[in-house]
Amino acid sequence: MAYSTYQDPSEMRNGPLTHRKDTMTIRHHAVRRDRALRATRIATASLAVLSTGGMILSAQLLRVADPAQAATQPGQHTTSTTVHAPTALARAAGRTAP
C-alpha cells in the first residue's frame, strides 16, 4: 500500500490506535498546539501592554516636542504669533515696527 498512516493528520483517523508511534504523534500534536496557543495568548497580552506603553511614551514625547513642529490643536493659536510677532518679525525683516 502506498498510504502512510504516520503522516496523516490525527483528526482524520477513525479506527482505534494500536501503534505506539501513532499515539506519540497525536500527543505531540496536542502538546505543540497547546504550546502555540499559550504563546499566542502571551503575545496578545504583550501586544496590549506594548500598545499601552507606546501610548504613554508617545504622550510624554509629544509633550516635550517642539511646538513649532507639532500639530496645532483645533481652535487654538500660539500666543507668541498673535501678540509678540509683529514687532519681532518686523525687526527681523529690517523694518521699524508701526
Binding site: 505543540r32 498546539r33 502555540a36 496557543l37 504563546a39 499566542t40 503575545a43 496578545t44 501586544l47 496590549a48 500598545s51 507606546g54 501610548m55 508617545s58 504622550a59 514625547l61 509629544l62 509633550r63 516636542a65 517642539d66 513649532a68 513642529q69 507639532a70 500639530a71 496645532t72 490643536q73 483645533p74 481652535g75 493659536h77 504669533t81 498673535t82 510677532a85 509683529p86 518679525l89 518686523a90 527681523a92 525683516a93 523694518r95
Partner: protein, 229 residues
C-alpha cells in the same frame, strides 16, 4: 479654576487624539503584516499558521479599539457632527485628509463585520472585502501624515516612514513568493515600491522643511503687510 478645566480637558483629548492615531497606525501596520503572513498553507518557519491568524485578529481588534478612542476623542474635541464622522469627504474642514481617515475607519468597520459573518459569505466575496484593508491602511497613513499633523516631529515622521517601508517590504515578499517565475513583473513591482517609498519620504520631508523655514517668513510677511492670519 473653572476656566482652566475645559482647557485641561481639551488638552487631554487632543493628546489622546494624537497618541491613539500614532499608535493605531503602528498596530494597523502590524495587522497588515500578520495578514500577509497568514495567507497560504502550512507552517511558517516551524510556527503553526494559526498562531499568526490569532495574532492578526487580536492586533486588528486592539487597533480597532484604539481607532474608536481616536474617533470619540476627536468628535468630543471639535464637536464634530455625525455626518462628517461617518461619511467620507463630507467635512467642510480638511475635507480630503479627514475624509481619507473616515474612509479608512469605515472600511475597517466593514471588514470586521464581514469577518464576523464570514461563514455566511462566499470566500471570494469575503476576500475581496478583506483586501480593502490595504485601502484603509493607505487612507490611515495619508490621514496621519498629512500637513498640519505631527509629521514635523522627527520621530513621528520616522514612525510613518517605517510603517510604509514595512508594508512595502512585506507586500514585495508576498509577491516574490507568488511570482518567483516572473522576474520582470517582480522587478517592476520592486521599482514601484521603491518609488512610492521615496515619494512618501519626500512628501513628509517637504512639509517639515516648509513648516520650519517657509511658514515663519510667510507669517512675518502677512503681519508686516497688516493682513490677518
Amino acid at each position: 479654576m473653572i476656566a482652566a478645566a475645559p482647557l485641561t480637558e481639551s488638552s487631554s483629548l487632543w493628546t489622546l487624539v494624537r497618541v491613539s492615531g500614532t499608535v493605531d497606525l503602528v498596530l494597523l501596520t502590524l495587522s497588515i503584516g500578520l495578514g500577509i503572513l497568514v495567507i497560504g498553507e502550512g507552517s511558517v518557519r516551524g510556527t503553526p499558521r494559526f498562531v499568526f491568524r490569532h495574532l492578526h485578529r487580536d492586533a486588528s481588534l486592539i487597533a480597532l479599539a484604539l481607532l474608536a478612542a481616536h474617533i470619540i476623542a476627536a468628535v468630543l474635541l471639535v464637536h464634530l457632527d455625525i455626518v462628517p464622522t461617518v461619511v467620507p469627504f463630507a467635512s467642510s474642514v480638511r475635507r480630503v485628509y479627514l475624509g481619507l481617515g473616515v474612509l479608512g475607519a469605515d472600511l475597517m468597520a466593514v471588514i470586521v463585520v464581514t469577518t464576523a459573518i464570514r461563514h455566511r459569505l462566499r470566500l471570494r466575496r469575503w476576500r475581496f472585502v478583506h483586501l480593502s484593508a490595504y485601502v484603509a491602511w493607505v487612507g490611515a497613513v495619508i490621514h496621519g501624515a498629512a500637513p498640519g499633523t505631527d509629521r514635523g516631529i522627527p520621530w513621528v515622521a520616522a514612525v510613518d516612514v517605517l510603517c510604509v517601508a514595512a508594508v512595502l517590504v512585506l507586500v514585495m515578499a508576498r509577491l516574490a513568493r507568488m511570482n518567483h517565475h516572473r522576474p520582470a513583473r517582480l522587478l517592476a513591482a520592486g521599482a514601484v515600491s521603491a518609488l512610492v517609498l521615496v515619494a512618501f519620504v519626500a512628501w513628509v520631508r517637504a512639509d517639515t522643511t516648509d513648516s520650519i523655514h517657509a511658514a515663519p517668513r510667510s507669517a512675518a510677511h502677512a503681519l508686516i503687510q497688516g493682513e490677518t492670519l
